[in-house]
């Protein structure tokens, strides 16, 4: 019964979606306010109906109703509740429902919170959201219905792919989807702007919070996915340049470029045409991210629903939305008129360079990911494009980006002074040199490239901090006025601080973990010791252990350094009982920001255990930096100016009179 309610809700949502995409647009065309005002109401209805569908899906999964095909294929009654629930989106059909539900959620949030938007822009935006929802619902109902029944109902399910039975991967898709889908609003806004011709600073201000929300979630989703791959896949890497990872990286890069270019548009009314294009591209890349994973075109470990027939439909949808928007863009963007002016040395120009580098990075990842496909299609040559290519090209682009990052906030709008900016960054540069020197001392003159990396990371962090110090004049005025000035700085300034410093922290993590990692591979018996880096691992016990729906072989180690005990770490090889699929459950012991990472190889009958142990210095900084950057996004979002629907009360006009006295 619940499955039928869900199925019915999907059909109902389709009907609502058709109305939501057609009526408001018709209203915009005829300047009919009654029709335009229907948009928010319909978006609300859509949200409720999709909410019911998604709740039904969760319920059949929670109840382990194996008469529903989707539950049968992806769940098992012995799985704990959290994984029974995450199984609802850990498969193609369910993830599409989650996607569409998130889409409806964003449309509902938009209709609830942006009362200051021009009626026609809002109506057109919601109509485009409706159009996306309609297409997805059609796709779900025609090719990927999660509510189909099985008759007779099986007694037991096939179990969720064991690799996905992990709290990291339970949360990874929803975070990522909120990110992907969040960019749909930027897309809808851009299309609506092209349709209505309304594009100005107000547009930028309306779009920016949504882009930030999407970016924050995407950042967290990628960080979580990367951390999951690190501890679950068992070889301690954190980024593999897998096509599916690239698929999530591309919208992230485009989104990062987008929320920077929107600042320019909001403040200076410049880079408008480019911003519109970026908004379209960010969501187009998100769509690709969602779909390429599932179409089976990019086969990888993530493609849990490989089905060529669906691939065709997916390609049609992709070309419809991407091609349609780009065609509209080509037709209308020229009519938008010129934007603001700026000199080649100004904050606008710095942000333009940021956009250029990020766009090039996006294009590089895009080309690298799709080149083998294209080449095979046209010439039958099979090549691989792997980490060595991306590390070289992408890395080369990130260095100038990081180098320029501290300069941006130091330059004035419209016309900046590069020399003055450089002067203000002298302290940061000095700190960077000190960091490199300390690094050289600690690592006894480690590789030059790594020292340069430390210096760069430190420069980025110190540059971000000096910006705040200089803006609040912390060093040159009395503590009281400095503090009050600090408190008076817009939250966005702190957002920039956290975001930029987070990237610096990330850089230091990447450099340390990739250059100074130590690895030891040994076979141990109980009681034997191996050393990795400066640490000693003693195998103290090994043996079987049972879990709810799996069987482990666990090995426990004591960790010491210079004879001092630092703790205990366990690592296991796991076999899931229903599917007999083996996984590795690696063990980590945190020491400072680094981790001692232990994975098991072969476990012999004679008690010999193959052990791979790694010392990964500062590796946690990688994710810590990303979380910091996301926190910066939250901080920016809480800036009064962006707080959705908050009335902006004039106060700055008072300030000149105060200083004039």
């Amino acid at each position: 019964m619940i499955a039928e309610i869900g199925h019915f809700a999907l059909v109902l949502a389709l009907a609502v979606g058709i109305l939501q995409s057609a009526l408001p647009l018709w209203g915009v065309r005829r300047t009919d306010h009654t029709l335009m005002r229907l948009a928010p109401a319909l978006a609300g209805v859509m949200f409720v109906v999709m909410g019911i569908a998604f709740a039904c899906l969760l319920t059949v999964h929670a109840l382990s109703d194996f008469s529903t095909q989707n539950v049968f294929r992806n769940s098992h009654s012995t799985m704990p509740l959290v994984f029974r629930l995450s199984a609802a989106w850990g498969n193609h059909e369910g993830s599409m429902v989650l996607w569409t539900f998130t889409l409806a959620l964003f449309a509902a949030l938009l209709s609830a919170f942006s009362n200051r938007l021009p009626v026609d822009l809002k109506a057109a935006t919601l109509a485009v959201q409706g159009l996306i929802a309609t297409t997805f619902l059609l796709f779900i109902l025609l090719t990927s219905n999660p509510f189909l029944r099985l008759d007779p109902a099986p007694a037991e399910g096939r179990e969720l792919n064991p690799v996905l039975q992990d709290i990291g991967l339970a949360l990874h898709p929803p975070l990522l989807y909120v990110g992907y889908v969040g960019f749909s609003l930027a897309y809808s806004f851009a299309v609506a702007a092209l349709v209505t011709g309304r594009i100005d600073a107000g547009w930028a201000r309306a779009v920016r919070p949504w882009v930030l929300i999407a970016w924050i979630f995407l950042t967290l989703g990628i960080a979580l996915g990367s951390y999951w791959a690190y501890y679950e896949l068992g070889w301690g890497g954190w980024w593999f340049w897998d096509p599916v990872e690239n698929a999530s990286l591309m919208p992230w890069l485009a989104g990062t470029a987008l929320f920077h270019s929107i600042i320019v548009m909001e403040k200076r009314n410049a880079m408008r045409v480019w911003t519109l294009l970026l908004a379209i591209l960010a969501f187009s890349l998100s769509l690709m991210g969602t779909f390429l994973v599932r179409s089976g075109i990019l086969t990888s470990v993530h493609a849990f629903a490989v089905d060529p027939a669906r691939g065709i439909v997916i390609l049609v949808i992709l070309s419809l939305f991407i091609g349609g928007a780009l065609a509209l863009y080509a037709w209308r963007a020229g009519e938008l008129g010129p934007g603001g002016l700026f000199s080649p040395l100004s904050r606008e120009a710095a942000l333009l360079l940021n956009n250029l580098l990020l766009a090039t990075a996006t294009a590089t990842v895009f080309v690298g990911t799709l080149y083998p496909l294209a080449l095979e299609a046209f010439s039958d040559d099979k090549i691989s494009v792997g980490p060595p290519y991306f590390n070289l090209t992408f890395g080369a682009l990130m260095v100038p980006l990081a180098l320029c990052m501290p300069f941006g906030p130091m330059l004035a709008w419209k016309r900046g002074d590069l020399l003055a900016a450089a002067e203000r960054l002298l302290a940061a540069a000095g700190l960077a040199l000190v960091a490199a020197a300390i690094g050289a001392w600690l690592t006894q003159g480690g590789p030059l490239l790594a020292l340069a990396g430390f210096a760069l990371g430190t420069f980025v962090i110190a540059g971000a901090v000096s910006d705040i110090i200089l803006r609040a004049r912390l060093l040159t005025s009395s503590p009281r006025t400095a503090l009050s000035r600090l408190a008076g700085l817009p939250r966005q300034a702190f957002g920039t601080l956290l975001g930029h410093a987070g990237i610096g922290v990330f850089l230091i993590g990447v450099v340390s973990a990739s250059t100074f990692e130590s690895e030891t591979i040994r076979t141990l018996r109980v009681g034997e010791t191996m050393s990795v880096g400066a640490y000693e691992l003693r195998l103290v016990a090994s043996g079987p252990r049972s879990g709810a729906n799996y069987q482990d072989v666990v090995a426990g180690f004591d960790v010491r350094r210079d004879g001092i005990s630092l703790g205990h770490v366990e690592s296991a090889k796991r076999v899931y009982l229903a599917s007999r699929v083996p996984t590795t459950e690696t063990g980590q012991l945190r020491i400072g920001f680094g981790q001692l990472y232990v994975a098991l190889g072969e476990v012999g009958k004679d008690g010999k255990v193959g052990v791979r142990a790694y010392w990964k210095p500062n590796i946690l900084l990688i994710w810590f930096g990303l979380v910091m950057a996301a926190a910066g996004g939250v901080c920016s979002l809480s800036d009064r100016r962006l707080r959705i629907g908050a009335p902006a009360v004039a106060r700055r006009a008072v300030a000149p009179t105060v200083t004039a006295q």
Binding site: A201, V301, K382, S384, L397, R640, V654
Partner: protein, 177 residues
């Protein structure tokens, strides 16, 4: 592993799952490691540049699949036999094709791949510089549509709606300045 599943899709899903399982432990086994640490380091370095062709997108250094193990042993055999790194790569591409290389060789076919970042950056920079310059030129030749007084009034209005926290309205906007 294929015979057990009846439905095509279940089969595919389980293959993926099994591949994940197979490939899911760092590969180099203790018995493969060469006695000569320099050669071993070279072997590891080469292994990271070679693709395991049965796992998706993993180097043979990472893969746990039997094929990857065979390739790792071949790499070590060649190194022990005295081959240079390049000779090892040529030996493997002669047998497995360019597909085995994770770093594509620069050929006519891959020229676009390797040039893409440079082309995009230079093309983008060219367009950006052109657009900014033209905009400035246009503006220089056109008279300002607003008078100075209008400009100040406008910028004050814009500033007034900008980024300021909403404290209680103590003063009306300072129109007197």
């Amino acid at each position: 592993m294929r015979r057990g599943a009846s439905l095509v899709r279940c089969m595919l899903v389980s293959i993926v799952a099994i591949l994940v399982g197979l490939c899911s432990a760092r590969a180099v086994e203790p018995d493969e490691i060469l006695a000569n640490p320099q050669l071993e380091q070279r072997a590891r370095h080469i292994s990271r540049e070679l693709r395991c062709m049965v796992c998706q997108n993993e180097s043979i250094d990472e893969s746990h699949a039997p094929l990857a193990r065979d390739l790792r042993l071949i790499v070590r055999e060649r190194l022990v036999a005295g081959d240079s790194d390049d000779a090892v790569f040529s030996y493997l591409t002669a047998r497995y094709g360019d597909f085995v290389l994770l770093r594509p060789r620069l050929t006519a076919r891959t020229l676009l791949l390797w040039l893409a970042p440079v082309l995009v950056f230079c093309g983008g920079a060219f367009v950006a510089v052109l657009a900014v310059a033209r905009r400035r030129q246009d503006a220089a030749t056109m008279p300002s549509p607003l008078s100075e007084a209008e400009e100040t009034a406008l910028s004050r209005l814009l500033a007034a709606s900008d980024e300021q926290p909403a404290l209680p309205k103590r003063n009306p906007p300072a129109t007197s300045t």
